[in-house]
């Protein structure tokens, strides 16, 4: 790919102070809509290749990143932070598997082993105000965003101390404080919600004129979702209104047992973005540093008000789709190929080779994380199960919504309501 994705900005790694961005005053254009010009003769020629399209460009990031050989992409502190986050994700998911087989958690549990680079690479660049929307494979997204391991583990155990008070479960991780907007069981369902969160950011900046209203939303989803209508509808709306959102495709090539190549007419997902007038980028999702570079650029783009980006991360899940999946369809050679590209091993190698850290520091991190995860399990084990009184509590934000009982009082005033035994 000859045309670089904002070549000028990509060539220089962004300074460390990216996290403290000043608010940009963005003026809304008088016409809230597409600014692409119609090209009347475009049909007679062959379809323009993405690299020639006027507004958007796509590229393969690996080429660009190779140019940065001379500069180290990260400092020691950043490296340790990234490494710790990935180790936390891996250790936590491994513990989940153990706990599941011991009967501590039930239902559908989808593990993220192998994909840690995507979560760490993107989410560690966000501020606390920024929003993350995920799918059912959301434990690690929540952890990277800052939700404590204790809260996530308790939620998985179904205890009342979980981040959603035990009411959500594995597939519905929500945290208001850290702006984790879920955790959705149906694929594609979270993308419109992410679009809405991005819309709020635009609205707050332009209508409510709130200072610091430059939050960015990240929407994570898989390759299977890219054949779903909601995906395309939201790409259209996000590009149309230049919403501050980044669409991150975690293409792990498999949707349960359906290979991406068997389900998709054009498997190159990043190429679909220019059709909507936004850049599409493909990145090696097993390399956290490459992901981080792309993430920096796309998040900056969104914060500046330039609109959405579609980032396709080529990644792989080492385990089956869920803990109930026997994972028989995937070729062992393919699994071995990606196992060699384990993001944690790659990061370790990079840091040691570039003399950023030594082995003992990494071992210390691994030990620390082991303790964190053990502590989380202990905490979850000891936490109480939700009592009956929790049953009716959160159905409505305003419990008057349960209506008026035959005796004229609101049902929520019935003393049995708070005990959870009222008939509503």
């Amino acid at each position: 790919m000859s045309c670089a994705f904002s070549a000028v900005t990509m060539a220089q790694p962004n300074p460390l102070t990216t996290n403290r961005l000043s608010t940009y005053a963005i003026k809304l254009p008088p016409f809230l809509g597409s600014t692409r010009k119609l090209r009347p003769h475009s049909l007679s020629k062959s379809l323009p290749s993405p690299s020639k399209s006027l507004r958007s460009s796509t590229s393969s990031v690996s080429d660009v990143v190779k140019e940065l050989k001379s500069n180290l992409l990260i400092t020691k502190e950043e490296g340790l932070e990234l490494y710790e986050d990935m180790i936390l994700g891996r250790a936590f998911e491994d513990m989940c598997a153990q706990m599941y087989y011991r009967g501590k958690m039930f239902g559908f549990v989808h593990l993220y082993n192998g994909q840690e680079a995507v979560s760490t690479g993107f989410i560690k660049l966000l501020k606390k105000d920024d929003c993350v929307v995920s799918t059912y494979r959301d434990h690690v997204h929540a952890l990277s965003k800052g939700v404590t391991a204790r809260a996530v583990m308790s939620e998985l155990f179904g205890k009342t101390t979980g981040c959603c008070r035990g009411q959500g479960g594995s597939m519905h991780m929500f945290d208001k404080e850290h702006n984790v907007l879920g955790g959705f069981a149906f694929i594609g369902e979270g993308i419109p919600v992410a679009t809405g969160a991005a819309f709020t950011s635009l609205y707050k900046r332009n209508v409510l004129k709130e200072a610091g209203g430059n939050t960015v939303t990240l929407a994570f989803f898989g390759d299977g979702t890219c054949n779903n209508g909601q995906f395309y509808e939201c790409l259209n709306m996000a590009a149309l209104w230049k919403l501050p959102i980044v669409f991150v495709v975690e293409n792990n090539l498999w949707a349960i047992g359906m290979s991406h190549l068997r389900a998709t007419s054009d498997p190159e997902i990043w190429k679909k973005a220019p059709a909507f007038g936004m850049p599409g980028v493909h990145v090696d999702g097993m390399d956290v540093l490459k992901v981080r570079e792309v993430a920096k650029e796309s998040i900056l783009r969104a914060r500046r008000g330039e609109g959405p980006t579609l980032v396709e991360c080529e990644t792989y899940r080492f385990r089956g789709h869920s803990l109930a999946d026997p994972d028989e369809l995937r070729d062992p050679a393919e699994k071995a190929h990606y196992a060699k590209r384990d993001p944690i091993a790659a990061m370790k190698k990079y840091m040691i080779e570039n003399k950023l850290v030594n082995e003992s520091e990494l071992k210390a991190i691994e030990k620390k994380i082991d303790e964190v995860v053990e502590d989380a399990v202990e905490f979850a084990d000891e936490s109480p199960l939700p009592p009956r009184s929790q049953l009716l509590g959160n159905v409505f934000a305003d419990p008057k919504g349960f209506g008026i009982a035959p005796d004229g009082t609101y049902r929520c005033e019935d003393p049995k309501f708070t005990q959870g035994t009222a008939h509503v």
Binding site: G196, D398, G403, Y410
Partner: protein, 408 residues
């Protein structure tokens, strides 16, 4: 803080709307609205957190000779304030409600197809885009599922969107978002995120609109836990319910009816908000309770005229709140008349009437002298032909016959 009182004839948009909350009013109004006697029951209902039973009577014209109970903000001698009314059509009343709420709270926004520059397919949002801008009154592409989801995401992050379905039937495409996210997210997030959306749109059987544009979605949505459903039927309750729905912290689906948009009524100039959970007593009576909502209210009132001439005294209640049912008003009525007739436009199978029948039987079985009769639309896709369409929907003659049967 005194409400601003402007000259007679001017529309007054008072800012302090909280004092004009009217949750406990039992009102009956004739359709012309010229004589509007209002009784507010002074007794305290409910526990310490009961409904706000303030003696404020702000939208009543006192019966002659009776002095109106003044709101504490009105200056003495200014009873004439309560005579200030203006005539509106139902869609204008909806627009007024929306406009007032958008002025009051900048986080209220509208999104839907053709709501902005076009002014809404039924002109409910006409003029709002010019007033508030393209971002607050957002013209969306034709992607119901996604823009409903977008509204939900916006609500989770602090806005209060009003999502319009150009026709309620189109919201079938948004069923995923309404059922899974709108209704459930407050619960699955353990109460962390609230979804204060209002989903509104015209539904119901119109004039030969064909099957797909004549759908009644209240029956499909009623099982979704976590949402409230209300149906407006007069300009007065349309404005009040719109405002209440926007202020409500729960997701509310507001059902409007295609054929009712041009109803005319004189509504108060002063600001008022109705209760989302209460039913409306349209006509008190003694012999039979007729429960209805939306357009069927007018068929029922038409039948009531005939019934009165024949010597019957029907009590007509517009249930307004489709989910949850106001079992207090309904129950009191059943205890008085012992006979119930439900008239609805929903399909026979699994409709609102079916749920209501079950609820009444469960709670008030001992008070019934006869089985509950439920008149609903036929389980038929609404035909295009005028004659066939007429026969799918309940007509006043059927209501008269049913009452006569019931009261034998």
């Amino acid at each position: 803080m005194a409400a601003t009182i402007q000259g007679i004839g001017a529309t007054a948009y008072s800012v302090n709307s909280d004092r004009f909350q009217l949750p406990s009013l039992r009102s009956f109004s004739e359709s012309k609205g010229r004589f509007f006697a209002l009784r507010s029951e002074g007794k305290v209902i409910g526990g310490s957190r009961g409904r706000n039973v303030s003696p404020l009577v702000t939208n009543a014209v006192a019966a002659k000779g009776e002095s109106a109970t003044a709101s504490t903000s009105a200056k003495p001698g200014f009873n004439v304030l309560f005579l200030l009314r203006h005539e509106v059509l139902l869609f204008e009343a909806l627009r007024e409600g929306l406009d007032e709420e958008m002025m009051r709270d900048p986080s209220v926004c509208v999104m839907g197809e053709d709501v902005g520059h076009y002014g809404g397919s039924y002109k409910v949002t006409k003029g709002l885009a010019e007033k508030y801008g393209d971002l607050r009154v957002l013209d969306t592409p034709i992607a119901e599922n996604s823009f409903t989801g977008m509204g939900i995401g916006a609500a989770m992050t602090g806005l209060r969107p009003v999502i319009e379905g150009m026709n309620m039937g189109f919201l079938l495409l948004a069923f995923n978002q309404i059922s899974n996210n709108c209704g459930m997210l407050h619960y699955t997030s353990g109460g962390q995120f609230k979804i204060p959306v209002v989903i509104r749109g015209p539904g119901g059987v119109g004039r030969q609109l064909g099957a797909e544009h004549s759908q009644r979605l209240e029956s499909y949505f009623q099982s979704i836990p976590g949402i409230q459903m209300v149906a407006c039927s007069t300009p007065y309750n349309a404005k009040g319910l719109m405002k209440a729905a926007i202020r409500c912290e729960n997701p509310v689906i507001l059902f409007e009816h295609v054929l009712l948009y041009n109803l005319k009524e004189r509504i108060p100039d002063e600001e008022y908000v109705l209760s989302l959970e209460e039913a409306e007593m349209v006509r008190p009576g003694e012999h039979v309770t007729i429960l209805t909502y939306s357009r069927m209210r007018y068929h029922v009132m038409q039948a009531a005229k005939t019934l009165v001439n024949k010597g019957y005294d029907p009590e007509v209640i517009d249930i307004r709140s489709l989910k949850p049912f106001d079992l207090y008003t309904i129950g009191n009525s059943v205890k008085k008349t012992h006979r119930v007739l439900i008239v609805e436009e929903c399909m026979r199978t699994g409709g609102i009437g079916a749920s209501l029948t079950a609820a009444i039987t469960e709670n008030f079985h001992d008070y019934l002298d006869a089985p509950i009769v439920c008149l609903s639309s036929q389980d038929v896709p609404t035909p295009y032909a005028g004659t066939l369409e007429e026969w799918t929907v309940v007509q006043p003659a059927q209501i008269v016959t049913a009452v006569e049967q019931l009261c034998k």
